[in-house]
């Protein structure tokens, strides 16, 4: 995006902070900040994935602890901290609509309803946050808008798990983003689109994989800089460099993909040709990374980086081309087949982590019956 008036205008139209301030003035801004803080604290105890129905958090503009705005909807209970609220939400078994009001003495009022209420009437007197089916809305008087997501594959901007270890961040990325290609960058790697069969990758998908993983690591890791690097040749294979503040620690990430990708643009030739990579490609990546790390150590006074080979696994058994239809067993054959490296650098090098395989699932609706 260019930093110009048109693009900034587009941002302003969806900027709920601006709209809440317009609706309720400076008091409204304080209320929305309080709501955001409370929601973040609640999600630190009860992640949004654990919610069974809707969660609504409100801050009344002029309410008092003795007259919370949600009391008109039913009998309230109280909690003294957001952590206590989160713990209570973890125990909710039924699909109730949950309403939380933060009141001015720092405590909370809670209400659970079997039937939803009209949020717009609530928004006349308060700033309202609503979580419902992985979307988040903010309401304030006439304003009602969705919170723009930083990452489409994360449930909430307010509940991003930051990891101190890269390994934990990889696990989240593999499960939440790579497995179903849900990251908005990664979804473009498939021939036929993410809603197609997801059998064949587009030509040269590695840069999209790199950008997707780098974007995720920026969100998921704490106190790091994450830099995608341009591969100039096989002697400099590193795709992403991660550095931690203060400790001098760093990580080099090399990305490889396995499976079948379109080799040449389809418009150039009458029939598609494909590039196919199997385990040997991952093995080559491991060797390139090990060689590069040897050189990096020799030429640098910094502490040795740790090397990670990340393998996007899009292998499909018996696949001939993008128009094929596979049985479920063939399409998912490699989902649980680990990569067997020989040599396995991680077994005898402390600076080389075990390879991280990220399987990319095909679309089940395209399987042969």
């Amino acid at each position: 995006m260019k930093f110009n008036i048109e693009n900034v205008q587009a941002l302003v139209s969806s900027a709920y902070l601006v709209h809440v301030r317009e609706a309720f003035g400076e008091v409204g801004e304080q209320c929305i900040l309080e709501v955001l803080n409370v929601v973040k604290l609640i999600y630190q105890t009860c992640p949004p994935e654990r919610l069974k129905a809707t969660l609504t958090v409100v801050r009344g503009i002029a309410s008092t602890p003795l007259s919370p705005v949600i009391e008109v909807f039913g009998s309230l209970s109280s909690a003294q901290s957001a952590q206590e609220v989160g713990a209570l939400l973890l125990d909710v078994k039924d699909q109730h609509h949950i309403f939380i009001e933060a009141v001015s003495d720092g405590s909370f009022r809670l209400l659970m309803l079997a039937v939803d209420v009209d949020l717009k009437s609530l928004a006349n007197l308060s700033v309202v946050y609503r979580f419902e089916r992985n979307t988040e809305q903010i309401l304030a008087k006439e304003y009602q808008g969705y919170m723009p997501k930083v990452s489409s594959c994360l449930v909430s901007n307010l509940a991003i798990p930051t990891q101190s270890s890269l390994e934990d961040a990889f696990k989240i990325y593999a499960k939440e983003m790579a497995l179903e290609s849900q990251c908005r960058i990664l979804k473009d790697v498939w021939e036929g689109g993410v809603d197609g069969p997801r059998l064949v990758l587009k030509n040269k998908p590695e840069s999209l994989m790199r950008d997707s993983l780098a974007h995720a690591l920026r969100l998921l890791t704490r106190d790091t800089t994450v830099r995608p690097e341009q591969n100039t040749d096989e002697t400099k294979p590193v795709d992403i460099r991660v550095e931690w503040f203060g400790s001098g620690a760093s990580a080099l990430i090399e990305i490889k993909w396995l499976g079948k990708a379109v080799a040449i643009s389809r418009s150039d030739v009458p029939s598609a040709t494909y590039t196919e990579y199997s385990l040997s490609r991952a093995q080559d990546g491991a060797k390139q990374l090990a060689d590069y790390m040897d050189r990096e150590v020799r030429h640098s006074n910094k502490s040795a980086p740790r090397g990670y080979l990340v393998v996007f696994d899009a292998r499909r058994k018996g696949l001939k081309g993008a128009q094929d239809r596979l049985s479920k067993s063939d399409a998912q054959h490699f989902e649980t087949v680990d990569l067997d490296f020989s040599p396995d650098y991680s077994a005898h090098r402390e600076d080389f982590a075990p390879a991280i395989r990220m399987f990319m699932r095909p679309r089940e609706s395209h399987f042969l019956a």
Partner: protein, 205 residues
């Protein structure tokens, strides 16, 4: 700590950032403190305050983090005096009410209260945007981006970069209503534009 480099402004800003940080942002890491401080300093420029009023300086480290030696000295002093507690993972938790009393004492000595709103807004940005996105947005801003690309440690806020920052803020201000008191919303929009710039998707910042 080198006593001759002690910056009262940096000390005051470190205290106010930790006092005002929303509870969901605590405990805070060292680099988050420097990030919020640097962002608060950018917001100070946006509010038309002279760069010289800041009272201390920043560099971008070779790893790509905004960092102030004077702020770090102030932080170390706060730790050694027990006003900041360090947990097992090295994260900071302000010690209340002692640190609040320290801030009130500072206010009687210097006219630093106007700065508080700027650094408060800097931490509040992390309620609206994930801190990883803020870190990325700041790393792409004038002065930071070029130094990070080269992997060089270099001074921040050189005149050309400050001029570019002003230009960007003018664009943000021009599309907002004339609510000149509002610091937070323009800051979040400025950061969001930088985040979107990396992702190319208007609907998801």
């Amino acid at each position: 700590m080198n006593g001759s480099d002690f910056s009262p402004e940096a000390y005051c800003d470190a205290v106010s950032i930790l006092i005002d940080a929303p509870a969901s942002l605590l405990p805070m890491s060292i680099i988050e403190l420097h990030l919020f401080s640097y962002l608060g300093s950018i917001l100070s420029l946006f509010q038309g305050r002279p760069l010289g009023d800041l009272g201390y300086s920043y560099v971008v480290t070779t790893e790509g983090f905004p960092f102030s030696v004077q702020l770090e000295d102030a932080r170390a002093l706060l730790v050694s005096s027990g006003l900041i507690l360090i947990d097992d993972q090295g994260y900071m938790q302000p010690r209340f009410p002692e640190i609040e009393a320290e801030y009130q004492e500072l206010l009687t000595l210097r006219s630093l209260s106007e700065r508080r709103a700027l650094f408060n807004a800097a931490t509040q940005c992390a309620l609206a945007l994930p801190i990883g996105s803020i870190r990325h947005a700041v790393s792409q801003s004038p002065g930071m981006a070029s130094a990070i690309d080269l992997g060089h440690r270099s001074d921040l806020f050189n005149p050309d970069d400050v001029s570019l920052l002003y230009d960007e803020y003018k664009i943000v201000r021009s599309v907002l209503s004339q609510d000149s008191k509002d610091i937070l919303a323009p800051a979040v929009i400025w950061l969001s534009a930088r985040i979107m710039r990396g992702e190319g998707d208007l609907n998801e910042v």
